[in-house]
Every structure is written in structure tokens, then in C-alpha cells.
Symmetry: D2
């Protein structure tokens, strides 16, 4: 029997980091060895993160410099801001450790696109060639062989899962894609800002980040790979008052006449063996409450005959399949564990 | 000085009806004379509707048949389901009363379209010719002369205000319009259904009603009038967890090259004299918290140069500008009161 | 190795029933054999209950009469209204099955008290002598030997855990106890009532059920056993806008001078070996977010020197330790499983 | 006809300050002349505060030192932290202006008690003798004659209104009073702190601030005045997930046998002429939704015969009757306006 993998979570003080620690603590093949956070240096995990079993709760946060994380671990999971993630990835990769990165640093293959969307030169372009865009439903085989695993953003995950079968089958015009996504507040991060206060966000909602949200860089890269041609798409994110959850609605012009039942069959067949993707049928559309606190994605595809468009829907938990859950799924794939190990469906 | 108008609110037991009663009770030129509700027959308004001044709170609900509402009033405001509204509108119009109807019965000019979307023959087609679609920003002059005032739906209000200037100026391709709207829960009505319970909707969200939501009938009618041609459009409504508020995001392909500043100027100029429409400039997009409990609409228009599309945004209170507030605004227009009388901006 | 126990969940359509199904589906020693519900007869569990693994999701609800539940099961868990629960408990006990009942029918030993608080004669008084009040922290040994296990109410659980050490040590005057509890909305059940709609409860709160909430019957019974004398106490429940969670605050006059550190030591010692009770120290008080979706109770005891009173606090998840989780904990105790098996701490 | 009063709002950047600006902007006898805020210096009111009419929205925030506020105004309303409020009150009173202060600086008559609860020497003890504790229902006549009007805290307002009739009539034992209050999140202020983020507070609740919340200083002062003797009381505040609203539940031992109908009569009679206090009768208890966005307080008094205690309940809007609304009510009293002018009931 394979022994447990020793895991470091680097930057465990945000909402994705907290969720990672919860998932690792319950994963039968992972041992949480190292926890780093500048903000919580010296505190016990259990003082900051709720819902931990006692062993994990007793682990103390350390404020470790990049060069010292590698000691005594097999895998480092980085829950850091973009840019900072590379500062840790470089020495960790040099030390031969597998790196699973939740930031944007290694999602986009083209350093020029990174610079265009993140307004800074890529901090570690020499690592890009080895990185894999770790959406297992699209890149499972590549994940198995990579030691630099870039976990997709939450919006891209919800969008690409909804679009992949239609793009692969060339059912829709890539240029016609219009995406609207609704995100729960945890997607905006754990920052002491007036704009994130309860009273500012409760009973409120708004669109933001148009027309050029950073996630477009990876969305357009992956749509391009699926469609065989690269095009810009329209993407409008919205902030809505719930803690966790994401809903995405996409419209696109049909490239060829397709019936509702053909479309349904294509989607069901594409995801038939995927443990975390549920294709809704009949009248039902995805709902956040079906996926929250799981690694599941609910998706649906519908035909709007009046406009000759297709409509695609998906719901995920932005901290689950949209971040920490997907990181664990990718880790399971990479190390040959059962893909659902330690995850809820 | 003009004496007060005597008002009946018919079907005052839903959320729009409650809001109507609150607005009428504070309006200096309106006298709430008659309140009808089958469910609340015999109860005092104050037992059912919170936030009423004492005089209005003391009025008792009656269960009046259609033929008896006209007695002693000048204007009847109907907050009834479609179909039922016509049963009251017919005798009230026969009695010469001005009818302001919040249902869908008199919004669509074409009885065949009504039948297509509402799955029943139109209950009073003989009245359709006299009805006005009471979005004051588009049909102010017609409202002044009509005694059958059809208050637009909440979704159509938020959509048409966002699109009107661009359509009038032929800046966008009407066929390319894709609309996503987010509605607070009060938009789903006050019905004792499991699906509307707190626990079912809190921390949840979903799209619904695709691809053929009933409001498309009036949305497409009015877009057709603005654009000079009739086309189907894509419309996806969503239910999100807040009590009141609506956000709409629309994309459309530009029909001609338009700069951001030209677009901004066109919008500001179109709404320059409108007391209830605020056009956002700069980086800011509309937010629900700016409009909730008011009759205001915030709108914004942006260019997405990467895709040659325009993006339009609006926020309203679905019970305010989306229902009861707009009814009062239309009443103010019809009877020559100051348009903002009794309403918040 | 002991084979799995075959479980029936009777009345699985409410929030406690749903949570039970989720917990049983993940419990390594339990096999969900039978699911009954009148409302959902014929539906699959996965159509109604979210977050189930596929095997459990495929089980169909049946509408079984009381006499037919016993076939093919070892244990029946009843998630039924009081009164109805007895109709099932009687034939199930006659058939020799272990019954775990979440209703109030078997919590109160004295049939006269039941009648006083539930306004009906006790429906199965002959079973009362064999029933155990299944708060494991107080009655663990008795649970091991009982086949009629009455799971405490959510309010009583949160109250008794907070008071037990102080009452046992005679630190407080039983007559002086004043209890205020705050409950999330799922505590009010899944009923199609206007009063439980999202719009009615969101941004609202209120006290209710005074001065004689039904749970007082079991609260006073158990306080009496702990204190060695029976007295009425003051209990005020409140409904607050969150889906899951309960907070209880209790004050009582000190019976003898007690320092904060003595009180703290008594509480820590009383619960030292309890896997599900965490005693907060220092400045921290219990928080709902630490216990939601777990079987954990956080409690705290403080001295108010200015008034010579003690203050007690607790937080639980009303559907977890307050209902379904506690049922599974009691089942684990009864059948000799590890007490935390299948439960979160 | 009296001309308008010219008003300065000092420190208008918090939630109480915003609400004050909204109320003043709609008050027919008040003219908002000066707005100060360090944080928003140079911004227009309408950029920061939603729901303002256009004239008020155009007023710019200034960063004025204490000595310069007095110019061109009649009344200054201070929405500042305690301690800082005195720095402004001193020069304003010297300049002969009426000061309405929402901080704690002038609520407590005894500077030693202030120091005990606020951990600093009183910053302006020479002004204390002239200050009035501005709960109009208790001190209306004194308010009429004062130019230093200390607006009570939100918790004290909800508590004192619920207790006053019972204390005046000596129906209850003052020493036995136990108070539990539930506050919406806006009561915690508008501060960029992790603990006030949406994700930290949504779906969460907790008690805090025991056993010695600062508001006890004014609560015990006023209970002492009503009862004719000074005693410490038990007070436990709780934070619950809604934006605005406060619920208070109080228990106290009956000092003499009192029937429910006697108690009801005493409460109704005490508040018979109060425009903002509604005494609930029958089964109904106060609800936050009845008072939010108004200056109203709902209260109820009940007998718990089983324990010989009385129970008192109240609901207010913590930003309305608990802060800004009460400031305007006190201003109306002071300047002889109709007491409800510009306020909702």
C-alpha cells in the first residue's frame, strides 16, 4: 500500500486555503505536514479554520520563506496571489517537489497574454512549458505526467465544463459566445476592505470587471484549444449575496441545426464517465444548492429554437470544484488515487 | 387645487399590492378608498402590511366582486394574476374608471402573441386597442391620454430602459441581443410553495424559465417598436437570494463603430430629463443597493472592443420601478401630477 | 467484523430526514435499505435530497404503512411529527426492531406532562418505560441498553449541554435559570406556509412561542434530574435569518461564590472525554460557523461578577447535534461503533 | 413660518451618519449645510450615500477641524466615535450651537462611570451637567430645553422602552433583570475588518461583549432613575446576520402579582400618546420587519405564570429609532416641530 503523501499548504489564510486544509485533513492518503501563512504565523490551524479534526487543528502556521518549504514534504499546494506563487514554485520545482498552484501564474501558456491581463511580466516563464492546465475533464492524461499543476480559476471551470462538448463537436460558433457568471462572495477573497463588508454586499448585487476580467486569458486559451481557433468572447461576472457558489449562463449561435435531444445526448455521452459532472435533463437547470460543499458540477445544455442559439448552464462551488476541490481532484489524478478520494459528489 | 383621487387597490395581498398600498398611503394627492383581497377579507391593512401610517393601517380589506369595485373611486389599480385582471378591468372600464393594471393582460397589443405566451385566449381583446404600455420613459404622451394603463413587467422595465437609446440610434443589431437578468425573490410572488421557502432559496441560485419566459412577449414587442423590426431575442432570468432588486446585463453586436464616449453621450442625452433614470459613468456599474426602495433605475452602457459588442446594465427594485413605483409614476403622468410625487429617487 | 446495519428512514421528506439520509449514506457501517415518505412516494432520493452519493441517490421513496416498515431492516429512524411517530414505533418495537425516534413522543417520561405540553393524550404510554432520553453526554450507558431511543429536541440539546456541569456541581440556583435561544429557519420545518417564505424571514427576526414552548417539557425534566429538584424555567426561542444553526444564552444566579477559573475547570473536566463538545476558553464565545454541518457543540461558561450570575453559551447545528447527527451518535453508542463514526467534529 | 434650520453632520461616513443625511435630506424643516468626513474629503455625498435626492447628493464632504464647523449652521449632529465627539462638542457649544451627539460622550451623567466603561477619563466633564439623555419617551421636557442632546445607544433604546412602564409601576424586581439583545450587522459599524466581512458573518451568529458591554453604563443609569434604585443588570448582546434591526428580550421577576391584562393595560396606557411606540397585543410579538427603515419601536409585555416572571420584548431599527431616527425625533422635540416630521412610523 502506498504511504501517505506529505503536503504543504502555502498561504493557507484565504478562503481557498482554508478549504484545502479541510479537504486534506479528511483525505485518507494525505498527511498535512506544513502550513504557512504570514498573517497567522504561530497560531494553530484550529484557531483560524473551523471544522477541522483535532490532529489537523493542532498544526501551527509557520511563516516560511520560499526556500524552506520543500523540506520534509512531497507536494506543495500554493494558495497565494499571482506573482507571489512563482516565488515559491521556483525553488520547490528546483527541489523536485510536485507543485499544485491555485494562482493564475501557470494557467496561461503564453507569457505575453499573462502580461496583457495581469499587467506585469511573467515571473517564471521558464516553468510554463512544464505546466498543465489542470481541468481533469479536459486534460487528465497530461495531469498524470506533470509536476507543475495549474488549477483553473473558478469562472473558467464553470464555463469550460459547460462549453466543452459543444465546442468539441463544433455545434456552436465560437465568436458568438456570450458568458454571464454569478459568483458568491467568497470568490472575492478574504480581505479587510469596506467593499467586502456584510452590510455592503447583503441585499445587493452588481456586474463588475467588464469588459476584460483576468480570467478571460485562460477562458479564451481553452476555448481556442477546444474549438481549434482562437477568438475573444464576452464575459460578464456578477457578485451576488451568498457565501459560496457560482452559476454560469452562456449563449452561442448554433453552427448547425441541432435538436434538443441530440444536444442532450452529446452532453451525456461526453460526461458519461466523469464522476464530478452531472448533466441535467428534462426541465431542470443546475442549482447552487446541489453542488455547494462538493466537488460536483451540474451542467445543462438547451436549444433556443426561436433565436437559433444554444444555452449552456453550470453550477459549481467556487471553493470546491472552482478551487480547493479541483486541486485535490488533480492531485488524485496525478498520484493515481481514486479520483473521488476525499471529495464529495 | 385638484382634490385627491380616490383609489382602489384590487388584490392587495401580494408583494406588489403591499408596496402599492405603502406608496399610495404616503402620496399627497391619493386617497386609498378601497382595498380588496379574497385572502385577507375583513382584516385591517395594518395587520398584513407593515410600515403603514395609522390612517391607511385602519382600512379593512373587502372581498368585492368585479362589478362592485367601481363605486366611490376614481382609479382602480389591479394587482391580480393575468386573466383575473381582465375580469375586473371590463366592468371598471365600462363604468368609466381609469384602470392601472399590473398584470400582463394589456401589455401585449397582439392577442395572438398573448395566447402564444400565456397559453389561453385573451380574456378581453376588445380593450387592447385602448391600452397603453406604461413605460413613461418611452410612452409618456400616450399615458396622458389613456384610461387603460398596462404597467410593464419588472424584467421588461429593466431591459427596455437599458436598450432604448442604443436601439433608437440603431447602434446595435437587434438580432444579436442576449439578455441575462437576476431577480430578487419577491419577484416570484407570495405563494405558499415549498420552492419559495427561506431554506430552499437562501445560499442558492439558479437560472429558470428558458427559453421562453412570458415576459419575452412584451420585451420583443417593445424592442421591435424601438428598432423598427421585430426579432426574437435571448432572455435568461435567474433567481438570486435577496428580497428585492433586479440586475440586468445585455450584450449586442455593434451595428456601427461606436466609441465609449459617443455611447456615453447618447445615453446621457437620452435620459437627461428623466427624473428616475441615472446613467452611470466612469468605472461604475449599477448596483441594486442604490435603487432598492426607490423608483430609480441605474443604467450603464459600455463598449467591449475585443468583441465589437456593446454591454448594457441596469438595476431597479423589482417592486419599485419594476411594479408598484412605476404604477404610481404612470398615474402621476396620467393625472398631471409632478412625476416624482410620492416616489423616491 | 460486524456486518452493516440495515436502516429505514421513516418520513424522510423534512430537513432532519434529508440530513439523516446524507449521514447514513456516508456511514461505513450503515446500509440505507428503506426510505418512506408519503409526499415523495415513487421519487428517487437523489431527486429530492442534494449531496448524496449515487448509490443512495438511486433509492426510491415508498409510502409504507406502519406494519410494513419492519421487513428487511435492523433499525428504524423516525423523522415524523409527534403522535404519528408512535403509530410506527408500536409495530416496529413489537417486531423487535430498534427504534430511534426524532419526535417528542418518547422524550418525556411522564405521560401527563406530555399531555400538558402537546395537548393530546400520549399515544403509546406503554412504551415510555423502555425509552431513553438519548443525549449521549448525559445518558450514554442507558442508550447502550435501549431499543427505544428518543433523540432530544434541538433547543434542549443546546441548553442541557450548556447547563449540565453547573447543575451537577450545584453551582447555580435552578429556579433562577433564564434561557434565550436563537434558531436558524430550518428548525421551523419544511412546510408550505406563507410565514416560512424567504421574503417573510429574510432581514427579519422575532421571539416566539412564549411562555410555554413544547420543548420546556423535556428541558425541565432533564434539568430536574441534573439538579435533583424540579422547577419551571424561563425559555424564549427566537427565529433568525440563517438556514442552519442555533445559539443559546443562559443566565443563572450563582449558588455559591465561584471564580471564573474554577468554573472553567469544572466545564473542561466534565467534557474532557467528549468527542463532540468543545469548551471555549479565554475571550472566545461559541459561534455557529464553527459547528454548522458538524455534530459538534461549542459551549462556554462565564461569571458575571457584577450581578453574581453565571452565563452559559452554546452553539450547535440544529440539524446536526440538534437532530440527525445526534441520532447517528446515539446509534453508534447503541451498537458499539466508534462514537464519531460517520460524523464530523 | 419658521425658516429652515441649517444642519451640519459631522462624521457622516459611517452607517448612522449616512442614515442621518438621508433623513435630513427629506426633512421639510432642515437644510443640510455642512458635511464633514476625513475619509471622504472632497467627494460628493451622492458618491458615497445611496438614495439621496439630487440637491443633497451634490453636497461635498469637507474635512473640517472642530473650530470651523460652527460657521453658518444652527445645529451640529455628531456621528463620531466617543472621545472624538467631545473635541467637536466643546467649540460648538462655546459658539452657542445646539449639539446633537450620537456618541456615548454625554449619555452618562457620572464621569467616573464613563471612565469605568470607556477606559479613559471623560474628555469634557464640564459639559455633562447641561446634557440630556435624549430618549424622548422618557425625557421629552428636558430635551426641549437642552442644547447638548445625547442620543441614546441602540441597545439602551430597545431595552429602556421595553422596561420603562414596568419599572415606573414597580411591577418587577430591578435586580432580577436579564436582558438578551440581537443586533443586525450595521450596529457593528463600517470598519475594514476581517471580522465584519460578508463571508464571516453570513450564516453565522454569536454572543459577544459579556459581561460588561459599554452600553450597560447608560442602561443601568436609566433603569436606576426609573426604579428609584441603582443595580447592576445582566446584558448579553448577540450579532445576527441581517443588515438592520434589533430585537430585545428581557425577563424579570414580578414584584407583585400582576395579571396579563393588567400588564397590557399599563403598557398601552403608558405609550398611548407616543407616536413611535406600538404595544403589541394578543399572541403577536414584535418583529424586525415591522420597524426596519422607520423610527418605530414595537414592544410587548407578557406574564410567565409558571415562573412568576414578566417577559418584555422590543424591536427597533438600530439605525432608525436606535440612532439617526431618534436624533431627528429629538431635534423635532427640541425645536418645536411636529415630533414625527420627516420620520416614518
Amino acid at each position: 500500500m502506498m504511504p501517505s503523501l506529505r503536503i504543504a499548504v502555502v498561504g493557507a489564510s484565504g478562503y481557498s486555503g482554508e478549504e484545502l486544509v479541510r479537504l486534506i485533513a479528511r483525505h485518507p492518503k494525505l498527511e498535512l505536514t506544513t502550513l504557512t501563512s504570514r498573517a497567522y504565523d504561530g497560531k494553530k490551524a484550529g484557531q483560524v479554520i473551523s471544522g477541522l479534526p483535532s490532529q489537523a487543528a493542532a498544526i501551527a502556521f509557520q511563516n516560511l520563506p520560499p526556500a524552506e518549504v520543500a523540506a520534509g514534504i512531497d507536494v506543495a499546494i500554493l494558495a497565494l496571489p499571482h506573482g507571489v506563487a512563482s516565488e515559491y514554485a521556483l525553488p520547490l520545482r528546483k527541489a523536485g517537489k510536485t507543485v499544485i498552484d491555485l494562482s493564475a501564474d501557470f494557467r496561461v501558456k503564453d507569457a505575453a497574454v499573462y502580461e496583457e491581463f495581469y499587467h506585469q511580466a511573467h515571473p517564471a516563464p521558464q516553468l510554463l512549458a512544464d505546466a498543465v492546465y489542470a481541468l481533469p475533464e479536459l486534460h487528465r492524461e497530461a495531469i498524470k505526467k506533470s509536476d507543475l499543476i495549474a488549477v483553473p480559476g473558478c469562472y473558467p471551470t464553470s464555463i469550460l465544463l459547460a462549453l466543452a462538448p459543444a465546442l468539441k463537436e463544433k455545434l456552436i460558433e465560437p465568436k458568438s459566445i456570450v458568458i454571464n457568471s454569478l459568483s458568491g462572495i467568497s470568490g472575492a477573497g478574504k480581505k479587510a476592505e469596506i467593499g467586502l463588508l456584510y452590510v455592503e454586499l447583503n441585499e445587493n448585487m452588481r456586474a463588475y470587471g467588464v469588459p476584460r476580467h483576468r480570467h478571460l486569458s485562460e477562458i479564451e486559451q481553452e476555448i481556442g484549444l477546444l474549438a481549434g481557433e482562437k477568438n475573444p468572447v464576452t464575459f460578464v461576472p456578477h457578485l451576488v449575496p451568498l457565501s459560496r457558489g457560482m452559476e454560469t449562463t452562456i449563449s452561442a449561435t448554433l453552427a448547425k441545426k441541432t435538436s434538443a435531444s441530440e444536444l442532450q445526448k452529446i452532453y451525456e455521452s461526453f460526461y458519461a464517465k466523469e464522476p464530478f459532472v452531472a448533466v441535467k435533463s428534462g426541465e431542470e437547470l443546475p442549482e447552487v444548492k446541489h453542488v455547494v460543499r462538493t466537488n460536483k458540477a451540474e451542467i445543462a445544455a438547451r436549444i433556443d429554437e426561436r433565436t437559433s442559439r444554444a444555452l449552456f448552464f453550470s453550477c459549481i462551488d467556487n471553493l470546491g470544484k472552482g478551487a480547493a476541490g479541483q486541486a485535490i481532484q488533480a492531485l488524485n489524478v496525478r498520484f493515481g488515487f481514486e479520483e473521488t478520494l476525499g471529495l464529495s459528489v
